[in-house]
Amino acid sequence: MSMIGLDSAPRLRRGVRLTYDKTRETHVLLFPEGVLVPNKTAAAVLELCDGVATVAEIAAELGRRYEGVRVEDVRNVLTRLEERRVVEWK
């Protein structure tokens, strides 16, 4: 599995939706065959995946919001999410 490049612009795969669930007080990823609960980091990254922002831009934006965000961590999260067929990029 190759790591996502810094200038790729990830987005949610077709048919995958991210919403906030009041009942469980967490973000959830919805798709045809089920529901996944992303951890806080993954949810923060996913909210910025619009198919336009690049990985570098996503990491920079997260860096403005939270302490100690490393671009390598963002790449790792996205690579894992791609393996689970949640995000894609060209």
Binding site: R14, G15, R17, Y20, L30, P32, E33, G34, V35
Partner: protein, 369 residues
């Protein structure tokens, strides 16, 4: 007696199967709908369904599967889609495709429909129409095209049985041509009309053996383009299928008349007292009703399940199957090779006729207009 004891294992449900109607223009002899179909007069009204969807979301439901019968037979389908989508649910339409015109689909997608699950009865029009009992196949190809044009994900669902099992290779090819993102090849589960037709529908061991390598190779070949889910006939397995990932654990079903079921086939368990959304709210039914607590968790498990290491995987198997075959819904699923009742299954398999009997088509008198 009502079970009101605190049930520490009950989590909020993730999904709701809303069977909006039993009306359907097709006559599939494998149909899992009950023999006694709910009639139109007894269906929940639009307002009642809107309220059920609201209650479901409040309870924690995130996926709403609109099914039936044929959900497109309900003219209020658009407002139900809107309500579920506006509340943040993932909305899935489970359909035969009859009545799914490009115009109707466009409207549903605009309202937030996220996914379509389209059933196909056979690989070619002749076989498919014979099984459906109407000329439905060509409509399905058009419906699939409309789904693809709107660029929403498509799952093709095929129920496998003796009359189409030899077609698996062609069914996979058909799903590819239809542009499916997922293909479910699910062997018939024997409830409702399917149970009535069991001896005609039961695939032969040769059919299963022939299909297995074909499905395996295709699954590998299509890994990145079309996910294939293959569900074998459980009568041929040594262990039962997991029942709903645990009774009352993830999903609930609301029947056309408002009865709330722990499993889509649970109306076949006549010893179960069902509650109805017309007289009790959904959360109360989910957490406190006798039906939902009857087989929840592990305390109810019989021997040999109680001491078995697979109990966390299959939860003792299917309650409906246990009831239909042994008369006791609390028994180990007789499919299990460890069940004292496994002999029942072996007898059924041994008596699979060499020439399948005639199929009894599902009776419907009402057309989708």
């Amino acid at each position: 007696m009502e079970v009101t004891a605190h049930q520490p294992t009950a989590q909020p449900p993730l999904g709701m199967l809303a069977e909006l109607t039993h009306r359907c223009p097709l006559h599939c002899p494998y149909c899992s709908n009950p023999i006694e179909l709910v009639t139109r007069e007894n269906e929940l009204s639009t307002d009642e369904w809107l309220d059920v969807v609201g209650q479901a979301r409040e309870l924690g439901v995130l996926q709403v599967h609109l099914s039936g019968g044929e959900p497109l037979a309900r003219h209020d389908l658009p407002v139900l889609v809107s309500r579920a989508a506006d509340l943040g649910c993932y909305v899935n339409l489970v359909t035969s495709g009859l009545g799914l015109t490009e115009e109707r689909l466009t409207d549903l997608v605009d309202r937030g429909l996220a996914h379509v699950q389209l059933s196909v009865q056979g690989a070619d029009a002749e076989t498919a129409n014979r099984i459906a009992g109407v000329k439905a196949h060509a409509h399905k190809l058009k419906a699939a095209q409309a789904v693809k044009e709107l660029d929403i994900p498509l799952t093709v669902n095929v129920v496998l049985h003796r009359a189409n099992h030899h077609q698996v290779a062609d069914l996979i090819a058909l799903a590819e041509r239809m542009g499916a993102d997922r293909l479910e090849l699910a062997n018939t589960q024997y409830y409702g009309w399917g149970l009535r037709n069991r001896s005609a529908l039961m695939p032969t061991a040769e059919q299963l053996a022939e299909a297995e390598p074909i499905v395996r190779a295709a699954t590998e070949r299509l890994r990145d383009t079309m996910q294939i889910v293959y569900v074998v006939a459980d009568y041929y397995s040594p262990y039962p299928k997991p029942c709903m990932y645990g009774w009352g654990s993830r999903q609930l079903t609301v029947a056309p008349n408002g009865d709330v079921l722990p499993c889509p086939a649970a109306s076949s368990i006549t010893t179960l007292t069902l509650d109805n959304v017309r007289s009790r709210n959904l959360a109360d039914i989910w957490y406190r009703s006798a039906a939902f607590n009857a087989y929840r968790g592990e305390d109810w498990l019989p021997d040999p399940c109680r001491g078995c290491s697979r109990k966390g995987i299959d939860f003792g198997g299917c309650r409906c199957q246990a009831f239909l075959l042994t008369g006791d819904a609390g028994a180990t699923d007789p499919v299990c090779s460890l069940s004292p009742d496994r002999g029942l299954i072996d007898t059924i398999l041994a008596s699979t006729p060499s020439e399948p009997p005639e199929l009894v088509m599902r009776q419907n008198t009402i057309k989708v207009v």
